[in-house]
Symmetry: D2
């Protein structure tokens, strides 16, 4: 599998940042705070909403879907910059965590139930 | 550029989910809530910490760095599943948002200042 | 009306803090981070839940209700300490904000609709 | 001690809500989501900031302090409404949690260290 995609997006974000001399703001600490603020922008989509209501809104309202896409992008960019700042290989980390989750949530026990692994 | 990497990670997360019959839990609504909970796990790294203190901890403590990598992975997996559920092309969204940010934060005005674009 | 209650709770939190020499950790910055972490503990109650499901759980499961009460207390204590650190009169602030909301959400326009005031 | 103050603020928030026929939106679930969004508004004060920088801003900029007061009020109002919806006595809950914290963080062990009780 090609690992170029995340590296390419990271390089673009880094170029954007460096053109503005923002590297000194981009500590792991600050990036975590900003990532949380962008996650909250996503959470706003659930305010006074139901699961069904949001699904219908995203399916029927192209503007809402685009707004969601932009908030997803904001989270992604801070996540890429955070991984970069902390020396984390994001692709590797996802593969590792999936392997951990395979053992935490065995298929026979976890099937169809949304229970935390500590309680399985 | 190859776009396979995000699609591959998404496919792996989807396979993990489907083996456990969890698709019905994975509405955009629920995924946004879970993404926020994982973002908060990252925020815990900043609790009672300073910018400098966290940077040193991540540089000097391999276990802390691995714990951060796993939380990054959790955010990433929920983000991939959210984009998937909402029909968002995450790679495209990042490129689009970078282009928007280029106009919001012109290099000559934004250089060296962490000011929101509305106030630039 | 008696204003003693919030002042009393604040004094108790301050006494708890000072007995442990924690005042130097309790900057507005750190208290905001911790308040957000406690808010996320509350958000956990909504994970993989519905509105109805959570209401039933809180009504029927005394342990869950007590766990929620403790998380509410954690948010409250950090809020009291934050107001204290920033010199904010929390009681006054709520009365002021209610007065602002009265003008932002006029009864005749806001009745029965969960719309942000900017869109009313 | 007089317990009227929190009850009075709760009654005012309830009256505001009922005049707008908003009770049906105010489930514990929805109030938790909104409380988290208001907590994130507080977190914005820490974005690209240092502990010292925020302290100075709040001390020297009356407008910033008032903005913080209003966000504190928003968190407080959702917390009061959440406690009300879930049948939680917020005052009692704080006293209970302080008593729990007294045993979790014994003065002799916790003095001067910001360590989670599980690690004390």
């Amino acid at each position: 599998m090609d690992e170029a995609q995340l590296a390419d997006l990271t390089a673009r974000c880094r170029a954007f940042r460096d053109a503005r001399d923002w590297a000194r703001f981009h500590s792991a600490f600050n990036l975590i705070v900003s990532l949380n603020l962008e996650a909250a922008e996503l959470l706003e989509f659930t305010q006074w909403q139901t699961e069904q209501g949001l699904a219908e809104r995203l399916a029927g309202d192209a503007q809402a879907k685009e707004a969601l896409a932009h908030e997803c992008a904001d989270v992604m960019m801070y996540l890429l910059m955070l991984a970069d700042a902390a020396g984390v290989d994001l692709h590797r980390a996802v593969l590792d965590k999936l392997a951990i989750n395979e053992t935490r949530y065995p298929v026979d026990k976890a099937r169809g139930v949304a229970t935390k692994y500590r309680e399985l």
